[in-house]
């Protein structure tokens, strides 16, 4: 893990705000990114993640705040003077140049001698499995190949920091899953810090060492995928990462939460009053009799490895999703009454302030 709090950060974002007219696309963000880290900026579209990335690259300038790279303020530097590279969402390969010329472009700008350029281009072509495509033009490449060329063109510059804007967005699902692991391997081999922007939470969970969740220009939570999945800081984060069930109820002063006649003690007690309880589908058990939260099965979705049972209850807006192993869910039928019990330790409680955010659940 990269719990490297004693290390010096490679990139420091200090209270950065970017306004377009009266609207703050990025609103007072503080963030440290460490060396050799695979960092993901995650959020729904319009959350400011791309604007933040473009400020780091030098294509937008912060309205206020500072961006430090290895302790040096890079705000006055134009993009071409920053020792970092950006991989564009559209890949932005130069259409009038071959793959080899695209890779060599960045090195020619450093005025390296021809032999050195050739050596480094060949080396990068080989490590990204592109040697055989070296003399093709971008128009002769598939989407996946273009993506690799765009990555190689940035890697060949050996930047301190590589920014990737939705790098896998244009690829189909199978290829995307393969490239997620491929990107991780390349990041590890090259020893370069990656900062990736994505709206795909699964992608962020698989690839990132640490991630930041953004919403409306603000930073909601920073942490490892596990921390964020297990202990989301608010209902929005809880809902954005993975599948989350929300149950409405009341928090008592003794730290117990009750919804209808079901009561339990969540891992994190909050102040007493109306509250929201969040629980993952894998932490809910279902039984046809006994105690627990009463409900009626509204849907059963078969996923191969498991079944997701949707249970309508009186205390949740959306049906509670329960994950059961495929062969254990056989006795359950749509319409039958069931009782749900939650793994109390894994439940997260949020106080009333959070419940406002939870209504946005449907929008995402």
């Amino acid at each position: 893990m990269t719990g490297s709090m004693n290390k010096k950060p490679l990139l420091t974002i200090k209270n950065v705000t970017k306004k377009f007219g009266p609207i703050a696309a990025v609103d007072g963000i503080d963030l440290d990114i460490y060396e050799n880290e695979f960092f993901a900026l995650l959020g729904p579209s319009g959350c400011g993640k791309t604007t933040l990335l473009r400020m780091i690259a030098g294509f937008e300038f912060p309205t206020s705040g500072a961006i430090l790279l290895s302790g040096q303020d890079i705000a006055p530097l134009p993009p071409e003077k920053r020792p970092l590279n950006l991989m564009f969402q559209s890949y932005a390969l130069f259409p009038h140049m071959t793959v080899r010329q695209n890779l060599a472009y960045g090195l020619e700008m450093e005025r390296l001698d021809g032999q050195e350029i050739r050596r480094r281009v060949d080396e990068t072509l080989a490590s990204t499995d592109l040697s055989e495509l070296a003399d093709r033009k971008p128009e002769q490449l598939s989407g996946g190949q273009k993506q690799r060329v765009a990555l190689a063109r940035a890697l060949v510059k050996k930047p301190k920091l590589l920014l990737l804007d939705e790098p896998l967005g244009a690829l189909d699902k199978k290829l995307r899953e393969r490239m997620q692991l491929e990107l991780k391997r390349l990041q590890h081999e090259a020893g370069i810090t990656f900062v990736i922007v994505t709206h795909d939470q699964e992608e962020a969970l698989v690839m990132a060492d640490r991630m930041a969740i953004l919403k409306s220009g603000r930073l909601l939570q920073v942490g490892s995928p596990e921390e964020i999945y297990e202990a989301p800081s608010d209902p929005f984060v809880a809902n954005f990462i993975g599948v989350m069930n929300f149950v409405k109820g009341t928090m008592d002063s003794d730290g117990s939460f009750s919804a209808g006649d079901y009561t339990l003690r969540p891992g994190n007690p909050v102040k007493s009053g109306p509250a929201l309880l969040a629980v993952r589908p894998e932490h809910v058990s279902i039984a046809t009799d006994g105690q627990g939260l009463a409900g009626v099965i509204s849907d059963i979705a078969y996923h191969g490895l498991d079944r997701v049972v949707h249970v309508r209850t009186a205390v949740s807006d959306a049906p509670v999703q329960v994950r059961v192993e495929a062969d254990k869910g056989r006795g359950l039928d749509i319409g039958s009454s069931v009782h749900l019990t939650f793994n109390a330790e894994k439940c997260r409680a949020f106080d009333a302030a959070g419940s406002v955010t939870a209504t946005e659940k449907e929008k995402i």
Binding site: A57, E80, N85, L86, Y91, F94, E139, K146, K157
Partner: protein, 289 residues
Amino acid sequence: MSYNAARPNLLAAPAVLWLVAFMIVPCALILLFAFFERGVFGGIDYNFNFGNFARVADPLYAGIFLRSARIALTAAGLAILIAYPAAYAITRAPASRQPILLFFAVLPFWSNYLIRTYAWIVLLNREGLVNNLLQALGYHGEPLSMLYTEGAVITGLVYNYLPFVILAIYSTLSRLNPELIEASRDLGAGPVRTFLKVTLPLSLSGVAAGGVFVFILSIGNFVTPALLGGGRFQMVGNLVYDQFLSANDWPFGAALGMVLITLMIVLLMFQAHMTARASGETKGANADA
């Protein structure tokens, strides 16, 4: 046979008929005339030979061809030099303001070609606006003779065809993916090198289209040299005009015309080639954008 298999051909029929009747047939006739001789009292002697083409190569006429080509080339070059920065500036303007800027660039087109050319006579003659302005600014020498010079002809040609060139270059520049420019900067190229290595090469098809356009329309032009070049100034267009309407030597006029048309077709093919190459490139650049 399915109902729509033959229909596209039928739909094209009016256009095809039009082209055959008013383009192919007249061109074929001109081509045919070029191989005959002028009759003693005008008209045509149907005596097949290559004499007219030999005459085109005569230094007197070849010289006029070369001068026309030089003037057309200068006009095309100047038009590109003026139009490129203008088109570039328009693409950099906010998207909401681009249509109005283009409208102003094209505005002169809405007035008559002859009027626009006469306007230059008003501007350039010895008592014209330009000379008056110079005197008002303190110039007391002999008024400048700007009218009826090669410079006046080139000025008129550039002025008349400039909007086409602005449009042609604008259309390629505005289709350029702006991320390509950013990618170049990101990879370490400053604004100047980015322009020379990315923007310019990728807008050459528009430059070629505009340039070929000006060249072709200029080399065959006879109105502008007649009005702004005065009587003593001859370009190929004037020569062809004279052969048909004054000298009554249709076969020689036809031969001159054929040489001119051949030259134009070669240039248009070159331009089509540039456009085809560029469209492949932009397709590649934008497929995943």
